[in-house]
């Protein structure tokens, strides 16, 4: 039976564990900062690079590599931004850290700021986390009072402050350049790259690093163990742990921190999640936040294992590390796994997501702006009794016209669900639409209800 390896979540939901500094310090808090601040920043960066730890915001880009892109020659101030705008549907891990162990984030943040020699740090937290912002402010006050933050930290000569900045309801503020625009007080329109790579032209056109909440916590543990030691956790291509948050049709939705590669989807869903509700079977899963390609139960994947030997996996066999999901044509993204059982109407499920993406599209570039709303309109129509057989290919084709053609990854995010759901559940689409066509022949109106329903 797979067990969790709680590194980041060690104290989450621990009885008696509170968010104040005293409690954090009783468990050894800020010991890592005390050590790190005495070392050279380059050494800390080398540790992070050696650890191979990947960003935990969904893109999975190696953190140390991202830091190495920083333009340190321009003379402009460097900024560190913590992306606490957790908005990828299915994801709720950062909330736990902010609400229940904020000092871990702050310690990781300060260590990272010191490593990249940031002049100022921000925590951009989504506006809906009202209490979370207050918890962070209190923790920052405590840290400042204890000289872990602010002027001349622990006598090191290094100073940095942290500003908690609240968002106001935009998924696109989770995109790093959208976040930067928002932090500059504007509409969150992601920037074109080239030339606006944040590491060179970020906040106020200064070199900027944007890291996810969990990533900054991972950095703390990297520095605690040392890069090479940390790299031994998990698998070589994906070090550390992943915090999986399962939701949807499972008996025990919840979060579980599992060492990378040390378990399978089956372990996660059945051992931890308790499997689907009694009497039901799993139809599909989305591995890591709704933007990732969907997997249909029964699919088989021909893969190559790390020793080069071939293997065949079913969905439940997939090991819980990024390369494995990559070989199955999807990604573990943010680790927000959504399970859908056999009562789920897959067309409705896609329609639900298209409404989400249409609402969240910033509207800046043509394919996403028009494509997202068009897809919403088509899927709404299909769910309201007005589907046509040509809509099936149309949905996939529109997605193909969006992916790879946009300013930011919101294009891929809205396209991947279509590009996977439609081919993999084509039989459902056809059955549903044929039934509607029959109904319409017998006089049913083309639309018989508004909105989108699931259950």
């Amino acid at each position: 039976m797979l067990s969790e390896r709680r590194i980041i979540f060690r104290h989450i939901d621990e009885p008696g564990y509170t968010t104040d500094l005293a409690c954090y310090q009783r468990s050894g808090g800020y010991a890592v900062l005390r050590k790190a601040i005495l070392r050279k920043p380059e050494e800390l960066c080398a540790d992070v690079k050696d650890s191979g730890v990947k960003g935990r915001g969904g893109a999975g880009f190696p953190c140390g590599l991202k830091w190495s892109f920083l333009d340190r020659k321009s003379g402009k101030p460097i900024y560190l931004i913590c992306n606490a705008d957790e908005s990828e549907p299915g994801t709720y891990k950062d909330r736990q850290i902010i609400y229940k162990d904020p000092h871990q984030l702050i310690e990781g943040l300060i260590c990272s700021a010191y490593a990249i020699q940031a002049k100022l740090a921000f925590i951009y937290i989504r506006g809906e986390m009202f209490e979370g912002a207050k918890i962070l402010e209190r923790a920052i006050e405590e840290a400042r009072a204890a000289n872990f933050l602010g002027d001349n930290i622990l006598g090191s000569g290094y100073s940095v402050d942290v500003i908690v900045h609240r968002g106001a309801g935009c998924y696109i503020c989770g995109e790093e350049t959208g976040l930067i625009e928002s932090l500059e007080g504007k509409r969150a329109y992601p920037r074109i790259k080239p030339p606006y790579f944040p590491a060179v032209l970020g906040l106020y056109n200064c070199p900027t690093i944007v890291n996810n909440v969990e990533t900054l916590c991972q950095v703390k543990h990297v520095l605690d163990l040392g890069g090479k030691e940390f790299a031994k956790i998990g698998v070589p291509t994906d070090s550390g742990t992943h915090i999986w948050g399962i939701s949807g049709h499972v008996v025990r939705p919840g979060y579980y921190e599992i060492e990378s590669g040390k378990g399978t989807v089956r372990d996660l869903i059945y051992d931890f999640g308790g499997g689907p509700p009694p009497g039901r079977s799993i139809k599909a899963i989305i591995p890591g936040g709704v933007s990732m390609k969907i997997l249909r139960m029964g699919e088989k994947f021909k893969v190559k294992l790390s020793d080069g030997s071939p293997a065949e996996w079913g969905v439940l066999d997939i090991p819980l590390d990024s390369a494995s999901f990559g070989m199955c044509g999807t990604s573990l993204g943010t680790g927000g796994m959504i399970i859908m059982d056999d009562t789920t109407d897959m067309v409705e499920a896609l329609s639900n997501l298209m409404a989400f993406y249409a609402h969240e599209s910033c509207g800046q570039c043509t394919p996403c702006r028009e494509g997202s709303l068009w897809l919403k309109k088509i899927t709404t129509r299909v769910c309201s009794g007005g589907g046509r057989l040509e809509d099936i290919d149309l949905v996939k084709n529109i997605a193909d016209q969006v992916a790879g053609r946009t300013i930011c990854a919101h294009g891929e995010a809205l396209a991947w669900p279509c590009q996977s759901n439609v081919p993999k559940f084509r039989d459902e689409w056809e059955e549903k639409i044929r039934a509607q066509m029959q109904d319409r022949e017998h006089g049913a109106p083309a639309t018989n209800r508004k909105g989108v329903r699931l259950v």
Partner: protein, 564 residues
Amino acid sequence: MPSVNLVTINVDGRDLQVPAGMNLIDAMAKHGLEVPHYCYHPKLTVAGNCRMCLVETGLPMKDRATNQILVEPDGRMKIGWGPKPAVACTTNCTPGLHVRTHTPVVQDCREGVMEFLLVNHPLDCPICDQAGECKLQEFATDYGRGYSRFVEEKNVKPKRTRLGPRVTLDDERCILCSRCVRFCSEIVKDDVLGFTERGSLNTLTCYPGRELDNNYSLNTVDICPVGALTSTDFRFKMRVWFLKPAPSICTESSVGANTEVWSREGKIYRITPRDNDAVNDCWMSDSGRDLYKSVESPLRIDFFAVDNGKCPADKALARAAELLKGGRVGYIGSAHSSLEEQFLLWQIVKAEPGPVALVRHSRSGDGLLISNDATPNLRGAFLTGLLRDLPASNLDDLRGKVETGVIRTLFVVHEDLAALGFSDDLLRRVNVIYLGTHANRASDLAQVVLPGQMVFEKSGSFINQQWRVQRFFQAVPGPAGTAPDLQVLSQLLARVAGFAAPMVSPDSLWHQLAGAFAPLAGWTWESIGQQGRVLDASDWAHVPFGEGKSLHFDPAALTAVKAG
């Protein structure tokens, strides 16, 4: 012309020489290759949001260790093509850049973007002013799929908003390219436009209670690729394919913005800017566009007259010549006259000498395309010798001479003497020969009235604040009863100087101009070119014109003007 660093790029298999670092769209345009685009504009910052200019790009692959460029078996560079198409507007030309535009991927990109743009676009072509000069129409024809698969309901947005006193906005047509927003922010520095709402509901808006009312608002209509922003004045007036353009110069100020005058069958319908990177880029003021309105004013002088009676041209010219030859003549020239007209006036002055004055018309400049000199050709008067020093904004000196009887006859070109302090009584005491386009008190009381033509009705050149000679061409014929000022002046000169007047044209006059004035030696009318030509103005470097900066003019830098 400073030498430019050229690099070799490869477009669809062809090597091209382009300036290093130049934007790919511009670079390809230099070679006559079109990259369709909407949001990109060479004078504004890059937005990269329309995605129409997607092309495949690749760079030479290098060996990681040696940094040497890898080579294929046949000797060509090994090209690493990007996994996704890239927008040409943010691609700068570097050595070895490879571009493909005729591949299935690029074709699909263009068809896709066109389809997306048309998804919520209203079917307004039959009633839309932009038809005939609409980029959506052009690129849909050239690069679109030819049909749409959209069967849903289109977005509804405000359709006929008064964005400002001169601009009407149709939000449904807007493709959200943001050119207008960037223009107002970057060129006019007046952040008055923005987008509200989110996603496909993005709507171009002016803050409630404010308007797009700056004096450059109509440039947004020019740069709008579709019919979202339209000129309220021009709206529904004329289909653009019936209009004939004629190159002209804005007479609003000494900036001399280059313009295009659009007319049909002798009637002007609109004025738009004409590109000149040395003077006005591609902009002009709103106030300058209105100048054609006075063409059809009821005050137009479209007759020759003697003693308030209309008469044939001959009679008026004979009387004028008689008055001039009677001596004690004073001249009031105009900085609105073309260089050629000023040249003829100067020859009349030589034949019948007398004091010459011009009036300085000042206003406050805006630092952009309106200088504080409200006339287009003050410097022509210097070049031709009519002026030696800056004129005053009054005629006190000359009026004094009239009052004391030193001057008995005044030849007035295009100035309102009553507004300049000449009383009715004084005007009756002196003989006025008035040459102008619109009637005023002086012309009403003049002994001889000679009709003039407006800049749209004749051809000639002006010298702007950069000492750049710029040509303007006739767009419409003058009203019946008028003749080009060049003919009138040359006929008068002939009668005064006593020889037969040949038919004159700017071209023929330039032979004389080039011979008469050293800075123009060797010039011809043709040699002035489409973008104008700067002359050597060192003779007048001491004159304190006192103008501030304009878009492409800095008086501080004008220490020594080089000939163009």
